[in-house]
Assembly symmetry: C2
Homo-oligomer: 225 residues x 2
Amino acid sequence: MKTMEKVDLSDCPICSSLSIDDKEDFLLDLKCSIKAYPKNELIIRQGDVCDALYMLMSGSVKTEMITENGSLLGIEIIKAPRPLAPAFLFSDNNHFPVDVTTLQEVEIMRIPKEEIIRLMMTNPDFMKQFLTHNSNRTQFLTNRLQLLSIKTIKGKLAHFLLEQVAVNEKTFTMNRNQTELADFFGVARPSLARSLSEMVKEGIISISKKEFTILDFKRLREQLE
Amino acid sequence: MKTMEKVDLSDCPICSSLSIDDKEDFLLDLKCSIKAYPKNELIIRQGDVCDALYMLMSGSVKTEMITENGSLLGIEIIKAPRPLAPAFLFSDNNHFPVDVTTLQEVEIMRIPKEEIIRLMMTNPDFMKQFLTHNSNRTQFLTNRLQLLSIKTIKGKLAHFLLEQVAVNEKTFTMNRNQTELADFFGVARPSLARSLSEMVKEGIISISKKEFTILDFKRLREQLE
DNA sequence: TTTACAGTGTAACAACTGTTACACTTTTAT
DNA sequence: ATAAAAGTGTAACAGTTGTTACACTGTAAA
């Protein structure tokens, strides 16, 4: 493993529990392979078989789902270090449910399923972290479900904005452009732009570049009703 | 455990791997409790803390999510034996994401989290089954996400109907009424009724009581575009 | 059997979103 | 610096869905 010295798993949600010694064993013993991909490349297709754990070691990717009618539904942006779709490794129908596209140059480590099982059996903390991470992913999906079930675009925006701003804050930096946010909401881009400009016109929010500011929390919450 | 003789976990997606001996140990040693609930009772509320595994031993329940705007989103109907929301047991924010309401009289076994961890550490097959079941649940949620992202009601119906009918079949029995199906789709009931009657009028499907028949697969698939 | 009540069919209208098109601005690449 | 591409603002119109209301039917309880 030539790139081993670059690897830092201490921030990884499922590997951080491994002690230094464990990590060395982990990396030395592990029957894994690392592969690099360029920017803006579709590296996993919806439907591909998922028979190993893919760990994003560096860079970032986005995941999106293609609906049967051909339209896109953005799911999330994933930054290293984090496993990709670990929940599907053990499912009876072990196919990726999403497309994965690189946003930067990335390195991805492929760890065979058997190795993951071995790690879990020998390392209780790893097992708990793996379970917790999958649970958190499920919670993320549930939240996504809730967002999609809101019927109006302004309602979705209110849900999204109220979730983004930290407690006692009223400003945050948007890390998506309008097209990506529209995909995330599952709506058309001009429709999102219309709702945004209306909310600005009504004095509920203000936008300058990537900075969003909430001007009127009360009326923003009213959009949810 | 007085109700032990009634218990049959051989069909349970996460317990069926336990051998007879294991099962006896499982049930005898397990620090668990069983509780019965009447029909049509709300037994778990969205937001309740989830610090144990709740196993539905007999009967059936439905799960639904309450959107911030107050509308319902039906999630699924669960029949015994199956665990309820096992994915959330290990999440950092361990709260139930849904309301659970009984559809019949039910019995529910409560197994403390520590017991589940112990079982997984001592029983590899149980661990794999637990992982697989959670993976399958995630896949279910992903499918649900896909359904919700379809924008037209006829498109949702097409997706749903094509998924329900078995291969080489054209008829199936609907186990939801119109109101429940509308909640499942996240749409208004009269809107669903309109779409249904239009598709009947157009000769794509026919409905009599709970029996749905697909008359024209080609045009049904076209609804997805 | 009669009486409720849940479930369904339907209609008119309001509200919202999608589509398409184009001008304009900002960023990126050469 | 300049050209190309990506991102944004906006408008008109069509299409779909939500809302509300009410009649009708089937089903379960008294």
